[in-house]
């Protein structure tokens, strides 16, 4: 039986692991320029997309990645939220195991969902976390790091500013960890209500104000702000949020020449980012999408392509 491993969190990746993924992705990116955009490497393997949350873009990205490696792809759009209980995670897992899935790419609304899937002893497949609750989104962080590395020529010592609803953002959590692992300096900017409780212990700096941080940023990553947070008293009005933390043209002018603007998508044009900024030459938003496919191809290859995975956590087996 091949030794299974998982990609559940950026905490599982050492600097070497992450660099291996980025380098592999760089090679695989060239595939996009070829007439035949396919490699035979995962022929005969089955990759299941198990999505408990709607996300067409991420699902398509993983599907494209798996298909380019000649794997068979099955899409499972699972019902089951805290409101509408569908089939239990366990029963779904047992079904996938019976179908012979080699890898399960799972997006779940509950933090720790992919973790349970990987370690409860229900399946033997490799598990890739495509985003769980407010916990982690490792492949997003990897494609962000890849994008930054190519645009800025490297990551060591680069100053990356992440702005917005950090408290509820799995993208922020994954990025902070991964960028710190790869030697970048990260600053988080948010109102105090949207900063995580224990953020002093995170490998980054923080600021409640955006303007002083921008001139020292090589890259700015804008996080999506959900309008519902306003009703939960995290900030008073959209207008105030946008004024204090939104990236608009005049703020963009504060950035150094070479700086880039990123956004994991989908954007609230006009709230955290203005249309002008989103469509400017500094913006990497469309590249991030293309890079996502290469990075996800690299992850699938490194987890499934050999007798043993080259990255990721060990399977703890039948652990309680």
């Amino acid at each position: 039986m091949t030794h299974r491993s998982h990609l559940l969190s950026t905490a599982d990746l050492s600097a070497d692991d992450a660099t291996l993924i980025l380098d592999t992705a760089a090679e695989l990116a060239r595939l996009a320029d070829r007439p035949i955009k396919k490699l035979p490497t995962l022929r005969g393997r089955t990759v299941v997309n198990l999505f408990y949350e709607d996300s067409t873009r991420t699902r398509i990205s993983f599907e494209t990645a798996a298909k380019r490696l000649s794997a068979d792809v099955i899409n499972f759009s699972a019902k089951g939220s805290s409101v509408s209980k569908g089939e239990s995670l366990k029963d779904t897992a047992l079904t996938l195991e019976a179908m012979g899935a080699d890898a399960v790419v799972v997006r779940h609304w509950a933090s720790g969902g992919p973790h349970r899937l990987a370690h409860a002893g229900w399946i033997r497949s490799a598990v890739v976390n495509a985003g769980d609750g407010t916990h982690e989104h490792p492949t997003q962080a990897l494609l962000d790091a890849y994008t930054l590395r190519s645009r800025l020529g490297g990551l060591e010592g680069r100053r990356v500013t992440i702005v917005g609803d950090v408290l509820h953002s799995r993208v922020a959590r994954s990025n902070v960890r991964l960028l710190a692992t790869l030697g970048a300096e990260v600053t988080l900017v948010a109102p105090p209500t949207l900063m995580p409780f224990g953020v002093e212990g995170w490998p980054c700096s923080t600021s409640y104000e955006l303007d002083p941080v921008l001139p020292k940023s090589d890259a700015v990553m804008m996080l999506r702000v959900q309008r519902e947070r306003m009703d939960q008293a995290f900030f008073p009005t959209e207008r105030e949020y946008s004024r204090r933390y939104g990236l608009h043209a005049d703020r963009m002018a504060l950035l150094p020449e070479h700086s880039v603007v990123m956004h994991p998508g989908p954007m609230n044009r006009g709230l955290e980012i203005s249309a002008e900024v989103a469509d400017s030459a500094r913006s990497t938003i469309t590249e991030q999408v293309a890079n996502g496919v290469s990075v996800r191809m690299a992850v699938l290859y490194l987890l499934l392509g050999g007798s043993e995975p080259a990255i990721g956590t060990e399977d703890e087996g039948e652990r309680r």
Partner: protein, 184 residues
Amino acid sequence: MRAVLDAAAVQRALTRIAHEILERTQGADDAVLLGIPTRGAHLAVRLARQIAAVEGRSLPHGTLDVTMYRDDLRLKPARALGRTEIPAGGVDGKLVVLVDDVLFSGRTIRAALDALGDLGRPRAVQLAVLVDRGHRELPIRADYVGKNLPTAQRETVQVRLAETDGEDAVLLGSKADHTREGAR
């Protein structure tokens, strides 16, 4: 391990291969050299330079990584990829000369042919190797050989190049001497 080719012999072999390529392709007008990483890539560069020195014009050359096409992927941990760089003119309608350091089972070359097939349609494919050590497991043969070196299965052949190992040499030893020889 003992040296079966020293630096001078390696250089002579490469010079001879370069001339043979020119001869058999009648001037190598539409030839493209593709080296298989790691050492095959360096050899391809050297051959291109030699040919350029003789003919006075440069020959398109690049690299072709075959990792994703190997038939033994599932026998070893997932490997890091090498670089694939195809020269500007592409491979369609060209005479592609694959370059590698050692020809052994032939499986690497089989993978290279598959990889090449996904990149385009050459008019012909030839193979140049520095050392042919026998023990083919597939019907593959080299068109240009630097040295024919009959070996026992349990022996290992190690090619060292200045670009990667600091010196040029071909060494022959037993399995205990060298742990990194993969099936070629």
